[in-house]
Amino acid sequence: MTLAQPLAAVQFQSNWLDILTSPFMQHALIGGSMVALAAGLLGYFVITRQNAFAAHALAHIGFPGATGAILVGAPLTLGLAVFCVGGGVLIGLFGRRLADREMATGTILSLATALGVLFAALASANARTTTSVLFGNLLAISRGQLVVFGVFTAAVVLVLAVIARPLVFASVDPEVAAARGVPVRTLGLAFIVLLALTITMAVQVVGTLLLFALVVTPAATALRLTARPGYVAAISVGLALIAVWGGLVLASMIDLPPSFFVVSTAVFAWVVVLAVTAPRRGRRTPTNPAPDTHHHHARVPVSTV
């Protein structure tokens, strides 16, 4: 009975096609698609570079940027971008050792969240603004924001086109890459700046707390299917686009937060792929198969993707 009342408000909206074609929905579709493109392209690297925690932290580091922007009356995107890129560079400078980076990232994350609370209190930002930063507000994306998104997405795509191959080398095989003359550290910094730009956008779409669904989940899903970087990128972008579009269509039909539908769609795809690939990947090579190669019975029964 306590549930009945709120649930009664959830019902199919027969005019969903009108909602879907309305200007604010168009903005959401275009903005969301750009985020899906950038996030899908970067997902492979976030995972191979073990940067998932950094991606999560960067989203939170954007929080004081957003509330700080409200405090000084600057555009939200600017505040987010400054804090995300700054935080990204700081994290990137803290060495390649995962343990060092995790500790530095965690510390910066706490400080940023504290600053965010402070700025929010000083700016007496209302709960609604804070909520939209934490959970995203896809339906409030303005024309101005779209222009900024366009610039950011173009930057991510162009820079990635130039550095993709050495970045793959530096991500999966850093020691040999360094010996081969690949500028591993510089590439790492460049990558984290691209990630910060993408997160600046993604935070406005799915919010600080749900960002993983666009940056990590599609790539994690794709990696279950293939290990080829190009394919992973294509599948991740496709899945992220489906999540955004599917989420918006569902949000048009049922008046609930689009973030919920976007994230649910991405997670649903992940669960399906996980279920489909689990039995096959369960039969992987034993850690110590007796004969190595040149012996046909050493052939492992798993046919890989």
């Binding site: 550095i163 993709a164 191959r165 050495p166 095989d173 020691e175 040999v176 890459a177 690949v182 970087p229």
Partner: protein, 277 residues
């Protein structure tokens, strides 16, 4: 056992080299010449600077003093005449990369911009994979392979660019006996075919002794170079490792080193032609 060495430039030449890292002198007064075409064991206790020697050769670590020449030129990063397999390589391998792609990165990984891997490059990768016996699992993920298979892929990546000098850091670590022997056999074959110089950091000399021609040993903070037979001596190895080490020669002429904390001499009495100090 080993072919005659070709005349030519040295693979690695150190002239009074010292290396400092984090304010600590790792080793100093390094003066040695590793001849081209040698198969060299790089030995010494933990922390003596074996990996550091590789980093100097790869141009990843500048020396604090002295002069270094690698294949007749100053060390520099990105020297494609050197193939490198780092330590713990197999532990670091990624679920997100296929063997073939990893070897391909050995050819194209430094290239910026968008260009597809050419047919010639793909053929080269395939040849390297076949050469090390990795072709049949080339399209699988690194993380799905056994340690021995991963080591083969790592070696394929190191030779794919026709390196003249191979630097392998602990390539036999974490491998079982059979895989150790197979990798050593592969290194011996590669050496014979290509006349490449191979330097191998190793803790256990025994599995490598059949292919080693020389050794670089880090003794009392200084690197030295000698033919392997001069290095496999009880007094030298005992001094080097700071613990009694025995050397055994079997009737077939095979050499072994052994921890000899109990009865080195006793054992030697029974060896027909033991190499007593």
């Amino acid at each position: 056992m080993t072919p005659p060495r070709p005349a030519g430039t040295a693979a690695l030449m150190l002239d009074d080299v010292s290396v400092v890292r984090g304010g600590r002198t790792v080793w100093s007064q390094g003066t040695l010449t590793v001849p081209a075409g040698a198969v060299v064991g790089v030995i010494g206790p933990n922390g003596a600077g074996k990996t550091t020697l590789f980093q100097v050769a790869l141009g990843l670590l500048p020396v604090a003093g002295g002069r270094v020449e690698v294949l007749g030129a100053a060390p520099r990063r990105g020297n494609h005449r050197i193939g490198y397999v780092p330590q713990n390589y197999t532990a670091a391998v990624n679920e997100a990369v296929r063997c073939r792609d990893l070897v391909t990165l050995g050819v194209t990984g430094g290239r910026f911009g968008l260009r597809r891997t050419s047919a010639a490059e793909r053929a080269r990768v395939q040849r390297a994979l076949e050469r090390v016996g990795a072709a049949e699992f080339a399209d699988r993920r690194m993380s799905e392979l056994s340690g021995g298979q991963q080591q083969r892929v790592a070696i394929a990546q190191a030779i794919v660019d026709d390196a003249e000098l191979l630097l392998l850091d602990e390539p036999l670590a974490n491998l079982d006996l059979r895989n150790q022997q197979e990798i050593v056999g592969l290194l011996g074959d590669l050496h014979r075919e290509r006349n490449a110089t191979i330097m191998i950091v190793a803790h256990d000399l025994n599995p490598l002794l059949p292919v080693l021609t020389d050794a670089v040993y880090l003794l009392d903070g200084h690197p030295h170079h000698d033919p392997i037979t001069d290095v496999v001596q009880e007094d030298l190895l005992t001094h080097l490792y700071g613990t009694p080490v025995g050397v055994v020669r079997t009737a077939q002429g095979d050499l072994f080193t052994r921890a000899a904390w109990r009865d080195v001499h006793h054992h030697h009495h029974h060896s027909p032609d033991g190499t007593a100090p």
